[in-house]
Amino acid sequence: MTDEPAPESSAHTRRTVLKSTAAAAAGTVVASHHTSVASAETAHTGGARTRVTLSVNGERHRIAIEPRVTLLDALRDRLGLTGTKKGCDRGECGACTVLADGERIKSCLTLAVMRQGAEITTVEGLTRGDDLHPVQEAFIRHDAFQCGACTPGQIMSAVACIDEGHAGSEAEIREWMSGNLCRCAAYQNIVAAVADAAEEGRR
């Protein structure tokens, strides 16, 4: 359960925070109670299932899924974490970006079984209680979205981008945020939000 919020001081320590969160996570949540929220894009029939343990936002979940199920589908359909969006399911849009041990990955391009043992952070895991993450705050300040469909992916990508030290200039942000499409094209404000959050992290 998320009853062990990790202290959140600044964005650039994110990776360390994630690791300590993983270490501090206690208990295992059996995910059967989540299945009612499933939109069931994943298969319930046919192929053999395997038990998988996933650490997501500091909670451990054990679920039975087919090995072919992507991390994205496991998060959305089995754990009910629909903040991670599916824009293409082929690694092309970035809407499904999550952090695995602090590194940004496209969760549609990886299988859930391959991410056992990794500490996964989704957009739902960025907030601590009611306190938004500095990157989330910056997105609000700069109106860095319109419809919001790409926003969770943009934010997860931005958290990692800043953490990687790739948010030092506008040009750098444009380069290192280019894996996340925004069809509403709030790009100008996204650049400003990432720069602002990065700046805040350096203060």
Partner: protein, 769 residues
């Protein structure tokens, strides 16, 4: 400014639910729990044009987890001709019946326990086809040897399409003619004529949220939750399809994750409704990204046109032959053909104009509404022509345009006067922004710089209908019921601002109910930038009715005439009398939590255009006016265009929320960059060959211009809510021609085919040498 005033008209208050947006808590339709449902996948046609001889479904049916397989013939047995739906012509079946008309058309639907099983089962279906002669492009279609449809039936859903007639033995489903003066004679007599063969390719919307429809039957009613911009239209369509009274159909939506015209009219909804109704179970229909490319497209359009000036440099003739490729189904193509055809001459004073605008069937995925409703395609033509004419006359393209632009009160070539359409203000603003009047370092070597401008005009869809219901809660909060769908444009936010301004309350205390046809009243569509003006007017009226009600109650309570009462942010006041809204409503009902209700309507009117001349003294309720300025650098070795500065201006009448207006202008401008430089659907013999996000290039954050300047121009509309008009499309109209005109300025080549790929630029440079 007090915080409360910031939440009214003119304030840039934050959108609704910004926290939800950054927390991934705005649950879209596809995020909703669906419970026990049949998941639907579709088997699609492999032939562009063929008769269906047999559909073999036994193997699919035998697969574990498959509940059933439904074909077009199965549905036709139950629904008959009602299976055919569409906003203009009832020409599109939810599943192909007897014939397939494009590669990718749904032929059979599999219902299964989960989506993966359903999708696997579609591969086990095969179909025997008897090929028919395919109609691949406009030339094939107009040659008229093979027909995509044998006969057409109008669907009569919308007021502006009332006049459609059934047609047969042609691929042209609609023709709009504009005849003002004698344009051909004026052209032949004119001193200077420029001509062009322009092409704008089909493109796709690619909203990040994929479409999804969940439909079920409850108490003998068909209910659905769906990604649509047109809930009222969908309700009517489903009622027609299933032959139910409107009261037995319920259409609900959630905020959309983008749309741009992709989620309108008949998408997944007729199929979902037909399956839920005939199978009697809850169904969930969605599409992969690759399937979404096939659901609808922007019309590819060919324009053969000319523009003529007399010896004094006055514009004397505009002639345009416009062909919209609408694909296999007309969708709203006829409306696009008329509304875009009538502005094909551009926003200029031109004495003589002749436009022939046709909507043409081909065996390709259907084309429908896309931000701009066909107008960017004709803007591509008129803004390239006038630029070229200025060059030919040795005039400055900015000044030449400015001289001829329509002013307030001027009559456009189709006969309607201009009001609240400040083309000159928009053009001046972008020209100033990009430094049109400053010296330009044009470069001498490989990199060459240039500047271009373009102006756009579009009519708002007319006539249309908007309704609003307002409940004022006793605690001085409010619930606003409208059927406008928020898809990122921020309609929920600005509608609350309009109501709050009238009621002098904090707009953050107003909740806008998501469209639900059981509760929210009829609204034509959320599209064509019509909501701010139309629904905004209904909202203004419903709030005014509420204000009057509150003032009446206060007058009674104070024992003074109503004229003496005013409404303030602290409640009604009259001299020394004062009361809060909460006390007033509590006192009136004697109960906490009670509600006062008002309702209002706003319907715009028009004079239908003459069928011979295409003219009307009021063809639209209002105009959109916009301009774009671009400063670019062309790499002459690679043909790559770098946009150094893009300025985009739109006359919005009055900005209800300036931040949201700027976002609409910049978002549209960047989408326009894609259309200018790389966006296009490539089809080979009717087969879409770049329908994935890897192959279909969209603007990314790296395509952001070095500098992007959105400019809000405000020339208030007499009848707009607080003078306001919409802005969703204004920013996209002139982007492609502004960039192409800048390329012309930089390297001296005139390109007439979009997109302006590096190859096309280097080829043109070589030819020019």
């Amino acid at each position: 400014m007090r915080e409360i005033e910031q939440s009214w008209v003119g304030g840039s208050r934050p959108r609704f639910d910004t926290a939800g947006r950054v927390r991934g808590m705005i649950a879209h339709v596809g995020d909703q729990a669906v419970g026990a449902a049949a998941h639907v996948a579709v088997h699609r046609a492999t032939q562009p044009h063929a008769r269906i001889e047999a559909v073999h479904v036994d193997e699919a049916l035998a697969m574990p987890g498959v509940y059933g397989v439904v074909t077009g013939a199965d549905l036709y047995k139950q629904l008959g001709d009602r299976l055919l739906t569409g906003p203009a012509f009832a020409d599109q079946p939810a599943l192909a019946h007897e014939k397939v008309r494009y590669v990718g058309e749904p032929v059979a639907a599999v219902l299964a326990a989960d989506l993966a099983t359903a999708r696997a089962a579609t591969d086990a279906i095969w179909v025997d086809y008897e090929d028919l002669p395919p109609v691949y492009d406009l030339a094939d279609a107009l040659a008229g040897t093979a027909y995509v449809h044998d006969e057409l039936r109008p669907s009569s859903v919308f007021g502006d399409l009332k006049h459609l007639r059934g047609v047969r033995d042609t691929n042209v489903n609609y023709t709009y003619n504009l005849r003002t003066g004698d344009a051909e004679a004026a052209r032949d007599a004119g001193a200077h004529t420029v001509t062009g063969e322009f092409w704008a390719p089909p493109t796709h919307h690619v909203p990040i949220e994929l479409p999804c429809t969940i439909a079920w039957v409850d108490s003998g009613r068909l209910e659905m939750l769906t990604t649509t911009q047109t809930p009222s239209y969908v309700r009517q369509t489903i009622a027609d399809l299933l032959d139910l009274p409107l009261s037995r159909v319920r259409v609900t939506t959630r905020p959309l994750g983008g749309s741009f015209g992709a989620k309108m009219y008949d998408r997944l909804e007729p199929l979902a409704a037909a399956l839920a109704w005939t199978a009697g179970r809850r169904v969930r229909v969605t599409a992969t990204r690759e399937e979404a490319f096939l659901l609808t497209t922007r019309h590819g359009a060919a324009v053969s046109s000319s523009l003529t000036a007399d010896a004094e440099g006055n514009l004397v003739s505009s002639v345009a032959d416009v062909r919209y490729d609408t694909g296999a189904y007309a969708d709203v193509g006829p409306r696009i053909t008329a509304k875009s055809g009538m502005v094909a001459p551009g926003p200029y004073r031109i004495a003589n104009a002749r436009v022939l605008s046709r909507c043409v069937y081909t065996n390709k995925p259907s084309a429908g509404p896309f931000r701009g409703f066909g107008v960017p395609q004709v803007t591509w033509s008129h803004e390239s022509l006038i630029d070229e004419l200025a060059h030919e006359l040795g005039e400055d393209p900015y000044a030449f345009r400015r001289r001829h632009l329509l002013r307030e009160g001027d009559e456009a070539p189709m006969g309607t006067r201009m009001h609240s359409a400040d083309f000159v203000g928009c053009l001046d603003a972008v020209a100033n922004a990009i430094g049109w009047f400053d010296p330009l370092d044009r470069g001498t070597g490989r990199i060459r710089r240039g500047r271009g401008v373009a102006v756009g005009v579009k009519a708002v869809l007319t006539p249309t209908i908007a309704n609003a219901v307002l409940q004022l809660n006793q605690d001085n909060s409010a619930t606003l019921l409208i059927s406008t769908v928020d898809m990122g444009q921020g309609s929920d936010t600005i509608m609350a601002q309009i109501a709050a301004d009238v009621l002098r309350m904090d707009s953050r205390r107003i909740h806008v109910v998501r469209a639900d046809t059981d509760a929210t009243p009829y609204d034509t569509i959320t599209a064509g930038s019509r909501s701010t003006y139309h629904t905004g007017n209904a909202v203004r009226r419903v709030a005014e009715a509420m204000r009057d009600k509150l003032i009446g109650l206060a007058a009674e309570r104070f024992g003074v005439p109503a004229e003496e009462v005013s409404l303030t942010p602290d409640g009604p006041r009259a001299g020394s009398h004062e009361v809060t809204v909460a006390e007033l409503v509590h006192g009136h009902f004697g109960a906490r939590g009670a509600t006062l209700t008002t309702e209002a309507n706003y319907t715009s009117s028009w004079t239908p255009y003459d069928k011979e001349t295409g003219r009307s003294d009021k063809v639209t309720e209002h105009w959109f006016a916009g301009a774009v300025g671009a400063r670019i650098a062309v790499d002459t070795a690679t043909g790559r265009v770098r946009i150094e500065h893009l300025a985009v201006a739109g006359d919005v009448g009055r900005a209800i929320n300036p931040t949201l207006v700027e976002q609409q202008l910049s978002g549209a401008a960047i989408m326009g960059i894609g259309h200018a430089l790389f966006d296009q659907l490539v089809l080979d013999q009717g087969q879409l060959i770049n329908g994935t996000l890897l192959d279909y290039q969209l603007p990314s954050i790296r395509d952001l211009p070095d500098q992007l300047t959105p400019i809000v121009v405000e020339s208030p509309h007499d009848d707009g809510p607080f003078g306001a008009k919409g802005v969703g499309e204004t920013g996209i109209l002139g982007v492609a021609p502004a960039i192409a005109n800048a390329v012309r300025d930089a390297v001296g080549v005139r390109l007439t085919r979009l997109p302006l790929t590096p190859e096309s630029i280097t080829m043109a440079l070589e030819e020019n040498q």
